[in-house]
Subunit: 140 residues, 2 copies
């Protein structure tokens, strides 16, 4: 047993629109792609953006269209970087969910939805260490 | 810019029921918990299980109750480990989505929903390397 997640896979209805959000918004480079899936090598695991109908077929479960009770977080290394990153994501096809502000637990964060409605938190959290390799360690 | 995800956060309606799934099903140990959130240190990032209403408040977006087009994957190191892990998750409150079988791209996998309906793929994928620290590297 490992305390390990191998992949996070997000269902996508328009592959080109999603690819633009991740490659131009975040500036990430795919490690593999074809017409139904794009994989990004992340910090110790893999992000997949998978054609929604193919993900549904693989799960053998249909997904609804309402917003999910899920968020994915990308942390930046200073509070000054939060808003510019959110602006880049919106310029690349994202939608504002919550403008950045300071949560009670400290730091600074906002939320942007990707073109398929998946929620991304863009955060500065001074107590979570990020290594040069991007490995993130919980801290309080 | 880092190709980095800091956290994935899943909304949870019953904290004790969810905690049982993750601690007894997967066998994972929380690194922090209070009455509205449990954090698990993962392989280079953090898994959060957050009271659904608190996550919604933080996002300032209500979530629907339909299944999401999202899956999270936990890879095991041999095909023989897939079914026992799925059985453990179901014994700890999970629900079968897809019984394990062999996908066309190779390996062996099935899907189990956590008590809040979040889809977990349990997979053996011989081309994705997993280090002793649990860091997962994409491979084809």
């Amino acid at each position: 047993m490992q305390q390990q997640i191998s992949a996070i896979t997000l269902g996508v209805s328009d592959m080109a629109r999603s690819r633009k959000f991740y490659t131009e918004g975040f500036g990430w480079t795919p490690i593999f792609e074809n017409e139904e899936i794009v994989f990004y090598q992340m910090n110790g695991f893999v992000l997949g953006t998978f054609k929604r109908s193919s993900l549904e077929d693989d799960m053998t479960r249909r997904a609804g269209t309402s917003a999910a009770a899920v968020s994915v977080s990308h942390n930046v290394s200073s509070s000054d970087e939060v808003v510019p990153m959110m602006d880049k994501l919106i310029a690349a096809g994202g939608t504002m969910i919550r403008k950045a502000d300071a949560p009670v637990h400290g730091g600074f964060r906002g939320y942007v939805a990707d073109p398929d409605g998946h929620a991304w938190e863009i955060a500065f959290n001074p107590s979570w260490a990020i290594s040069d390799q991007g490995y993130v360690t919980f801290g309080v």
